[in-house]
């Protein structure tokens, strides 16, 4: 009786969306077919490996079979739990009449959390299904405990893929689905080789030393920080229109540069100050600041200057509370101010950074790119809101980015040393297939070939050196000043309105 009551209570406390997701996963024909196929293929491959195995080998069959299993499992997880979740959520969200997040009293966080829980359980199910084959791989020899534990390394990556799928699906738009597919395809060029090399390195260790656990821990930390970001952005998309949908995401982005210190803590504690890499602190801090500023900039170009009465209603009455509410609330003014505040951290740190020559130029280059990016954001907003030109800010941004950055990189990328040996049509095709990879490769190559300088920052036609950085900052600052009257006006409007006779809901109404 106690057991029954426990399970009944457990069932009642589960997220309704999670229950729905699980029902849909297990009643989906495609799901069943793919899982069945995976089992059959694994079984056939296992038989093949077993028949080919001889007992005087060094056990490489076990390693090869193991890698095959976990990458097949990872592939299926991406297919079913990331792409599958994206497809289902996009379909649900595109139905404007039966959107349950708008028809019921479910909170947006419950919707996203339920989806995520469903995807995570399915990933576990897929890997549980592969356990017999993993055991078989272990008995084929050549695998250490460290090798088996590398599956721990894959799990956060797969959860991030699932979260990315949920985020893309939350828009309920076909063009986002297309972008998501392009992203998934592109990530295969970067993430899969990186995962292979890390796993290879971990497997070679043979023993579970401290560095192994630190590597796993740091990866989990990064996944957690990125995962929370994706979760909060999904929340912003799913939240009701004209609500303060971006408040949690903005607060998190502001806190992110400080949370990055947590990331460094395990390294610092274990290795001590003497062995702590001197550049690591600056690099990680810079990286998180860059990330926060870039995301805030992107958010800003999609925002309106003012807010709705729903947001103003929750505005504190005192000045400081009102200003903080204004800063973190939906609306481009807050995003821009926050972005410039966070940008001040790496700019202030830059002169004091004890960096090696190459690292200095890389940081300088990325800082310039970031400043010019923020400059584009401000310029786009100025053109969109302070002039009568009928284009939205995001379209201006695309024009600037394409004209200023992407197009200017094409000749560099096409003529890069790595690509020179490849026929021209293949070079162009490879850029189209994986522009991200190509872009990063070119930056690295460019930096390496010109010590003391860094790639140019895009819109501003300058070869970037230290003084160019300050020019970029000055231009971004001037553009910000042009937008300042609009920001001040938005702040003046940001106050709690007098709702007069409008009465709040009674307890009776709120009670179910």
């Amino acid at each position: 009786m106690v057991g029954k009551a426990f399970f009944e209570n457990l069932g009642e406390s589960l997220n309704p969306v999670f229950i729905k997701e699980m029902r849909q996963y297990f009643q989906n024909r495609r799901m069943v077919i793919f899982m069945g196929l995976l089992l059959i293929v694994q079984f056939i491959v296992a038989l093949f490996f077993a028949s080919a195995m001889t007992f005087d080998t060094d056990g490489s069959e076990g390693v090869a079979f193991f890698l095959l299993i976990i990458f097949a499992g990872a592939g299926l997880s991406v297919l079913l739990c990331s792409i599958g979740a994206e497809q289902r959520f996009a379909e649900e969200r595109s139905d404007k009449e039966l959107n349950y997040s708008m028809l019921t009293t479910l909170k947006p966080s419950a919707v996203i959390l339920g989806k995520l829980e469903g995807a995570m359980v399915m990933i576990l199910c897929i890997f549980s299904m592969l356990l017999p084959f993993l055991t078989a791989a272990y008995f084929m020899r050549g695998l250490s405990m460290a090798s088996l534990l590398v599956t721990l390394y894959l799990f956060p990556i797969l959860v991030l893929y699932a979260l990315a799928g949920i985020f893309a699906g939350s828009f309920g738009q076909k063009w986002v689905t297309v972008l998501f597919f392009v992203g998934i395809f592109n990530s295969a060029f970067g993430i899969v080789p990186a995962a292979f090399s890390i796993i290879d390195e971990l497997m070679d260790r043979g023993s579970l030393d401290t560095s192994f656990w630190i590597a796993v821990l740091v990866e989990y930390e990064i996944a957690l920080l990125l995962g929370v970001m994706l979760f909060l952005l999904s929340l912003a998309v799913v939240s009701p229109p004209k609500s303060n949908r971006l408040l949690p995401a903005k607060a998190y982005l502001f806190a992110l540069p400080f949370l990055s210190l947590i990331l460094m803590l395990p390294y610092y504690i274990i290795y001590g100050p003497a062995d702590f890499p001197p550049d690591a602190f600056y690099f990680i801090e810079f990286a998180f600041c860059f990330f926060s500023v870039a995301v805030l900039g992107i958010i800003a170009i999609f925002e309106m200057p003012t807010n709705s009465i729903r947001v103003y209603l929750k505005c504190p009455l005192n000045f400081i509370g009102r200003f903080l509410h204004f800063l973190f609330s939906t609306g481009f003014s807050g995003s821009l101010i926050l972005a410039f505040l966070i940008l001040a951290i790496p700019v202030a740190m830059y002169p004091f950074g004890d960096l090696s020559g190459d690292n200095t130029s890389q940081v300088c280059g990325f800082l310039c790119i970031l400043v010019s990016f923020l400059g584009y954001v401000v310029l786009s907003l100025v053109l969109s809101w302070r002039t009568k030109l009928p284009l939205p800010a995001w379209l201006w941004m695309i024009i600037f980015e394409v004209a200023g950055n992407v197009l200017s990189w094409i000749p560099v990328a096409v003529n890069s040393g790595e690509m020179r040996g490849i026929p021209f049509p293949v070079r162009i095709a490879s850029m189209l297939i994986s522009p991200t990879y190509c872009f990063m490769e070119t930056i690295e190559e460019s930096v390496a070939s010109t010590p003391g300088t860094a790639p140019r920052g895009g819109f501003f036609p300058l070869t970037i050196t230290h003084h160019a950085l300050f020019w970029s900052l000055a231009v971004a600052g001037v553009l910000f000043l042009i937008l300042l009257p609009a920001i001040v006006k938005a702040f003046r409007m940001h106050r709690r309105p007098d709702t007069g006779a409008v009465k709040p809901p009674t307890k009776e109404m709120l009670k179910k």
Binding site: I19, L98, P241, R310, A501, P504, K512
Partner: protein
């Protein structure tokens, strides 16, 4: 619960989909929402159901704003859209169970709510069917069950009878009457005006986003028949900007009891229609009488079917000849055709 739409306006770019409309209604009644395609019906209904936000104006449920407190409003409003549930890989009871859980129903309360709603909408045999395998009529029933699962006080329906066969329409009508008897306010848009006339207590007519007419069915029918309004009744039709047309008649104290007017046609031998008209006018329940040619009398009689029979009986008792006696069903449709111009935005 009083539902009040106040100065509602919704603008999409340069198009004014809903233009400053106001009306209100109370529970226990069924109200029709009529207008040509593109009149702004669905936009209004979506705002009432908290699916969209008004550019200005608001909807109030017992004084609680749908704009400011949408979550609270969702607890008291059930919305049945014109689209049908399209979830794949999910059974009827799982679908309803999901919505019940989403409204916070737990344990025995949820089981009871599910059983009640399945019985009420006659979904017993469909419980374990997948949603994609249902016919349109079945999906409509599932949709209604979904809208009612949390026992809302106000039910808002967008074209609930569209695409249904006569039997399914009859079933829906019966269910709506039961719900109105349970003191729920029902607000539904429909193109099938003869059906609305049968079940509705009042109607709102809009075109090009503007309110053309609103009132109880009697008042609207009186308009089409050219009869004067009864003295105690308020005149809610064509409200001015800022005013609210009260469909329930609760605005004017004391609330008038408005029996349904029945439109009838009496066919007489040629040249004998005038005495019939005069005889009908003598009766106090007669609201209006018109002559068509010299052999047809159109009349609107206040009261029940039995009272209408008694009024017509006075004509027979006076020895006047009546060749046929027909109850007119098209009053609302006539009114619709008369006051709308079929313009879209």
């Amino acid at each position: 619960m009083k539902t009040e739409v106040r100065n509602l306006t919704r603008v999409f770019g340069k198009t004014v989909a809903v233009n400053d409309i106001s009306f209100s209604f109370e529970d226990g009644n069924i109200f029709g929402f009529i207008g040509p395609n593109g009149a702004g019906k669905t936009t209004t209904i979506r705002i009432m159901a908290t699916l969209d936000l008004a550019t200005s104006g608001d909807v109030f449920y017992d004084g609680v704003s749908a704009t400011l407190y949408p979550e609270a409003v969702r607890r008291v409003v059930g919305y049945m859209p014109d689209s049908l549930p399209g979830y794949k890989d999910i059974q009827v009871w799982e679908y309803l169970d999901f919505f019940a859980r989403s409204f916070g129903l737990k344990g025995a309360e949820r089981t009871r709510a599910l059983d009640d709603i399945v019985e009420f909408t006659n979904l017993g045999e469909l419980r374990n069917k997948f949603l994609y395998a249902l016919s349109k009529g079945m999906k409509q029933r599932v949709s209604l069950a979904r809208a009612l699962i949390h026992n809302p006080k106000v039910l808002i329906m967008d074209e609930p009878a569209a695409g249904l066969d006569p039997r399914a329409r009859h079933e829906l009508r019966t269910l709506l009457k039961i719900l109105a008897d349970q003191k729920k306010a029902i607000f539904l848009s429909s193109h099938i005006l003869s059906e609305l006339q049968d079940i509705c207590d009042g109607a709102v007519i809009i075109e090009q986003g503007k309110l053309l007419s609103a009132g109880t069915l009697n008042e609207l029918l009186a308009q089409v028949n050219g009869a004067p309004m009864p003295p105690p009744a308020p005149a809610p039709a064509q409200p001015q900007s800022g005013e609210t047309a009260d469909l329930s008649g609760a605005a004017a104290p004391p609330p008038p009891v408005m029996p349904k007017g029945v439109s009838i046609t009496l066919k007489t031998p040629r040249g004998e229609a005038e005495p019939v008209r005069l005889k009908l006018l003598e009766h106090p329940l007669t609201r209006s009488v018109d002559l068509f040619d010299d052999d047809e009398v159109h009349a609107v009689i206040e009261g029940t079917d039995a009272e209408v029979s008694r009024v017509v009986g006075t004509v027979f008792a006076a020895g006047l000849t009546v060749l046929s006696f027909t109850r007119n069903q098209m009053g609302l449709e006539e009114l619709f055709m008369k006051i709308t111009q079929g313009k879209v935005q």
